[in-house]
Symmetry: C2
Subunit: 295 residues, 2 copies
């Protein structure tokens, strides 16, 4: 697998995942508009970072990308997509553009966007339990996914975000917010890969640690990009965070300190990879993933 690379995974496995997600949604025996609304947001593109993490983790442990791995990756992307649809709603972030296209509710209306999100969230658990994974591991995956996505994880972070808009958060509060909103699902992606690969508890603990740091880096990087990038590059509205007095790393720390904080987080993550490497794990793919955050 040492001749593997993220771009190879993207060209092969992510393409196949896109095909499987689309086929699954097309085959849903349900109301046409609901199906179209679900399909619209899932197939709107996106970087598929979370599935890529699952694939990269499996590949790093020489685990073939089987149907089970696709089910874990696809169900995770469904949950990520649902969260974007609900985040964009007028009562939430009120966004009109996502991945360069009108947001779900701009196309299908607000009610259908709520339902498309609900449907993707629920369908994720259906797919995940059809994965053909051993029941013990499968149950563990369902439990971890629900915990990461729910009121102790992503939804908790989202509610802190919504309520935090009215106040200035401390750095500590901002970290808790993002550990939920972005970190929980990303950490799950690494852990799920570890479960699929049947890694040891020691490996799993390091994957989890790496996932937490990766999720943190992801968010600081995204905040920095919101300040420094253009709408054209991002495919969504930028400079929106500061306009709306959102709590971000650059807003709290200043742009330079935010960049230093990103560097520090990336170096901590690098240390975890070194530990994995010392245990004989091939970490090239993880290294390559970290390269995503170079600024």
């Amino acid at each position: 697998m040492s001749n593997n690379s993220i771009s190879k995974l993207q060209a092969s496995e992510i393409n196949e995942l896109n095909r499987q997600m689309e086929a699954r949604l097309n085959s849903l025996d349900n109301q046409d508009t609901l199906r179209a609304a679900m399909r619209y947001s899932v197939m709107a593109g996106g970087k598929r970072i979370r599935p890529l993490i699952v694939f990269a983790t499996c590949a790093s442990f020489q685990t073939p990308i089987s149907e089970a791995v696709f089910a874990v990756a696809g169900s995770l992307e469904f949950i990520h997509t649902y969260s974007l649809i609900h985040d964009d709603l007028p009562e939430m972030d009120n966004d009109e553009l996502r991945r360069g296209k009108p947001t779900n509710h701009k196309v299908y209306g607000q009610a259908m966007a709520v339902l498309a999100g609900d449907a993707l969230l629920t369908e994720a658990f259906e797919w995940l339990t059809e994965a053909g994974i051993s029941p013990v591991d499968n149950l563990k995956l369902v439990h971890k996914l629900a915990k990461a996505a729910g009121p102790k994880g992503m939804v908790d972070g989202q509610s802190r975000d919504i309520l935090g808009e009215k106040q200035q958060l401390t750095l500590e509060q901002l970290k808790v917010l993002h550990a939920g909103k972005t970190g929980a699902l990303i950490t799950y992606a690494f852990e799920a890969g570890g479960i699929l690969a049947g890694v040891s508890d020691q490996h799993q603990a390091l994957l989890r640690e790496f996932g937490l740091l990766f999720g943190l880096a992801f968010q600081i990087y995204d905040d920095i990009l919101d300040v420094t990038s253009t709408q054209e590059k991002m495919g969504k509205a930028v400079h929106k965070d500061s306009l709306e007095h959102k709590n971000t790393y650059p807003a709290l720390l200043g742009l330079n300190e935010a960049k230093r904080s990103l560097e520090h987080t990336l170096s901590q993550a690098g240390n975890v990879l070194k530990q994995l490497n010392d245990l004989g794990v091939q970490t090239e793919l993880f290294d390559e993933l970290l390269g995503y955050f170079k600024i």
Copy 2:
């Protein structure tokens, strides 16, 4: 168990379930408002029909009401509650009153109501996978619950309902709508009880058939009540369906024909109970549940 009754189950098991649901929500380590919003709708009362079905099914097969049964019943009620919160949203049914109290978004705002619903839906799967059920059965329950609640079940019915408001549905279309919106979760409740009780495939098929008829009766009864009852009795706005030109059984068939349709459905359900009875199953509790729909 022959000295069991629905009212006994209500006094003992439903009370205990309420206690467990409240304790679970109180112990959530998350954002205060989110937790309060989740708690508000779950503890707003309601008839707890779906948990009652799970308990009654277990009791009918002499299966003790263990922690596993409470997890199945509680996770189901969480999903039902999420669906009510989202249904009531301004972009959906725009209801201001539920179970005699202001709806979730009237108290916590629209964004928090979306999130409280998302959180309860996800938390349901977390609870269900902590049930201590055998992994094979537990996975089956997760799969059936996701299928019943998702885009092939409840969310499908809900989207047909939202889109159907603008048009006159046929009776056949109305049945499909309700089979999803109300029927799927109710049928799951009977099937989940059967799985917990470890019943045979033959019993399970009959439980499923009974569940489908019970769900249909439930909806026709609810539609009739909307015409004939008062807001005081119902704890929510009535005569709303006809005002909003909603598709209902009385609107499509007339009140008398809707009542006859209910009678017919109840008699079919009674026939299924007879078959269960012939197989040695004690069906008193199921009979009593059907009594709920006497008009």
